[in-house]
Amino acid sequence: MNTVTPELDRRFRDAAAAAGLLDVAYDVVDSPLGPLLVAVSERGLCKIAFDPDGQLEPLARSYGRRVLRSARPVDPVRRQLDEYFEGTRHEFELPLDLTVGEFYAQVLGELARVPYGETTTYGALAARTGHPKGARAIGTVMHNNPVPIVLPCHRVIGSNGSLTGYGGGLPAKRFLLELERGGTLF
């Protein structure tokens, strides 16, 4: 049969990335939270999504239309995520390539400094970014965090200690906080 074999398919996807012809390479990475879509450019990590569907069009609009699934460029992120979920990695060492405005960049920059195993509140993060009344705005930024897990929006909770919300669902947020406390899972 004259059909494209998986080997040929993979060979093309590898070659496309190796030739530097992609705006974005992405893959779907297995995790304890389910499949994650992970997208990278040559400059760094662009996107982590709990729902792999419907991500290609927005990626193409932000980074360029040459968006192709290709495993190899995603490998460094995959490796660090695996280590994180095994509990052996507490900090990610990944360059980021985000297309966000100034306010988002500032808030996400502060978020990146919340240490492993600790939590902060929306209000505290608002105060640290110079917007003491902006807890709600901070919530919106957390909700639209382009790279959850790596930028730890799961470490931001309500001032009354409630988990409040999470893009990957509250069970995922609880899981990540438990993982970082070194607690036994389930």
Binding site: N2, R11, A15, A16, A19, L22, R65, V67
Partner: protein, 159 residues
């Protein structure tokens, strides 16, 4: 009024057309050489992809690239395609066709669908129902595209 069809993310484009491209190349070159030509076709498409102005006729566009690469393969001195075919007990592919290469050059300036229809019909001898399928349209649409392509070539040739 013309619809603006946006160019899809490359993944969607590749997933939609890869089998048609491979089928065409395998018929022309045999399975073995089709694999390299397949990769070259989509790498070439990737290079040109940022310059596409709209998302219409993408199948015709990529088949045209594939066809040009098949021609280049034929022109290469170490053409073993016919030999491979015999070894596999398959029907021999058509002779390396100077006329068909010339046809590809001649049709360079046709709109993509017409060009693909003309080349697939007169270069590859494909029947119109297959051309229709390759272009993602009907047998009748393929026939019309080929005939308007030929008319356009005649007009241009008369100039």
């Amino acid at each position: 009024m013309m619809d603006v069809v946006t160019v899809p993310p490359f993944e969607s484009f590749y997933a939609e057309h890869r089998e048609a491209v491979f089928g065409l190349l395998a018929r022309r070159l045999g399975r073995g050489r089709a694999e390299d030509a397949f990769q070259e076709t989509f790498l070439r498409a990737l290079r040109a992809y940022p310059r596409l102005e709209h998302g219409r006729h993408l199948r015709a566009w990529v088949l045209t690239i594939a066809e040009r690469i098949a021609i280049d393969e034929y022109r290469r001195p170490n053409n073993t395609s016919a030999h491979e075919h015999m070894e596999l007990g398959l029907e021999a592919p058509p002779e390396p066709q100077a006329a068909y290469a010339a046809l590809a050059d001649l049709t360079d300036r046709l709109p993509p669908t017409e060009r693909a229809a003309v080349v697939l019909r007169y270069g590859y001898d494909l029947p119109y129902d297959q051309i229709g399928r390759a272009l993602g349209s009907s047998e009748e649409a393929a026939r019309q595209a080929a005939s308007s392509g030929v008319r356009r070539l005649r007009r241009e040739g008369a100039r």
